[in-house]
Every structure is written in structure tokens, then in C-alpha cells.
Amino acid sequence: MTGGLGRIGVVTFPGSLDERDARRAVGLAGGEPVELWHREKDLRQVDAVVLPGGFSYGDYLRCGAIARFSPVMEPLLEQARAGMPVLGICNGFQVLCESHLLPGALTRNDHLHFVCRDQRLRVETDGTAWTGDYETGQEITVPLKNGEGGYVADERTLDALEAEGRVVFRYVGGNPNGSRRDIAGISNEAGNVVGLMPHPEHAVETLTGPTTDGLGFFTSVLKRLVTA
């Protein structure tokens, strides 16, 4: 799809560790992955961006707090507000919350342990840029691995997210980290920005993943770009 729609940037921060899997997932879905370094201020005309998982800047202050001020975030915030699809996975979700592109925050897992397991999720809405290829109510299984994955927000924000259909994924079969209302992922008001703690980019091939359920994220956004 070179030259056409479907260029999806994947940002590498110091400490990112899932950028290769994210780029591979983009390619398997039929898109063109574009490497973006966090110091760059140019998004190289990509059509969408993935903020991958990892431990940005070592998460010295809070997860994502320092990464949020990387130069690449300036054009990203601007274009995300203008409607460009952005997906934040795990640490990427934390960066989006620290950037206030998404409400709430991620805190230390309530049981204090790092969790690594295949996690069942319910797709709560197919109305976002990244979930159009799923059906609302569908259950998918993708890996989850985090130490600070508990989603928190005040009651008013949680009520608003529910009322506006912005809870995109909920944990099924046990809450792995104490997230409020079993929330695994949310979107912004426009539905172009989505953040979630579990890792769809690790579930795109049966050789290495538990399922290929994660591929739908990337095919969804590519379809959205073509029809936009």
C-alpha cells in the first residue's frame, strides 16, 4: 500500500519493547509500518499512530509521565485532536492518559504483582477507529502483561465513559489488576484515540500468540482510513 492510505507510524521511546511486534502486526494486516523515533517532531505523513508497550524512560516518575513530553508527542497530540487514529497499548495507554488525550490514570496493580497471562476481553463497542472489525459484545483473547495496569478515574468520569459508550474493552473471567469497573480499554469522545492495557499486537499469529484475535485492531483502522 506504499504511497496510499495505510501508513501507520509506531513510536519508539527509550524503553519501548513492543514496537517490532506492533510494526509486524501492521504489516500482517496489510498496512505499511513506519518507524518513528520519539525525538522526531515529524510524523512523516502517517495516517495513524501506535504507541507501543514498554517501560518508557524507565517510568522513573510515573508510567508515561516523561515520555508524554517527548517531541513526537506535540504533532501527535495536535493530529489526534484533529481526528487521526491513535492506539496506545499498555505503556502507550499510560502515555495517552498522562497526555490527557484519554481521561483517568493507570496505577499499581492492586495485588502488587506483575501479571503475564492470556486475557479474555469483551469488545464493548465496535464504534471506534480500532474496533470496527469486531462486533459489540464479541469476546477476544490477547496477552496481558503489566505491573501498573489498574485503571482509575473518579466516579463522575467513569459514569461519563459508560454513558458515552467510551468503555471499549472490559476484562472477562477475572479482573487482573484492580481496574475500576473491569475496564481494560477506553476511547476519547470522537473514538479515534483508543488505549488499552492488554496487547493485541502479540495475538496476530498462531505461532507466537494464543490467538489471532488482535489482528482486528489493525485491519479495523486500515479499513477506516480507506473509507474515511
Partner: protein, 91 residues
């Protein structure tokens, strides 16, 4: 040089599992009667110039936008007198 201390604490309504883990360890160590533990962060900022009202306002801004995530944390800012190191060294 003045020192400004910023203390950051999770808001009371936010679960603090680290603090709870510390509290649970206390009876095992023989410390009784501690009914709650909350764990926070302390930042010590060494400020080159005198801490004017304006400088303090900037530090409040720094604390509220960067050192603390006000979605989940509260913070306090206070100016601490610089340590009188020469007196300590004489002892």
C-alpha cells in the same frame, strides 16, 4: 541556594497497595497500633535564585503538571531553609 520540597501523595480515595503491603508487614516486625500506611514521593528542588512569589508560582505549576498527576495525586509545596552545612561540618 534554597531548597523547595514538593510532597506528592496518592489521593485518599485512590487505593495504595504499596502502603497496604507495608502496613501488613508491621505486626510481623513487632510494630503494633499502626492503623494505616500511605506511601508517597518527596522531591527536593535546589533552586539557584531566591524563592520569590513568582518562582514559587512556577514551582507550583511544575508540581501540578509534571511531578504530580492531579488525576490521582495531591501535592504540597514548601520552602525549606538551606542547611547550614558549615555548622554541621564543625561537629
Amino acid at each position: 541556594m534554597a531548597r523547595v520540597v514538593v510532597d506528592v501523595m496518592l489521593k485518599p480515595e485512590i487505593l495504595d497497595p504499596q502502603g497496604q503491603a507495608v502496613q501488613r508487614a508491621l505486626p510481623r516486625l513487632g510494630f503494633e497500633g499502626i492503623e494505616g500506611v500511605r506511601q508517597g514521593k518527596r522531591f527536593e528542588l535546589e533552586v539557584a535564585d531566591p524563592v520569590t512569589e513568582e518562582a514559587l508560582a512556577r514551582i507550583h505549576e511544575l508540581a501540578g503538571t509534571f511531578l504530580a498527576n492531579t488525576v490521582i495525586e495531591n501535592y504540597t509545596v514548601r520552602v525549606e531553609e538551606p542547611a547550614r552545612r558549615e555548622e554541621g561540618a564543625a561537629a
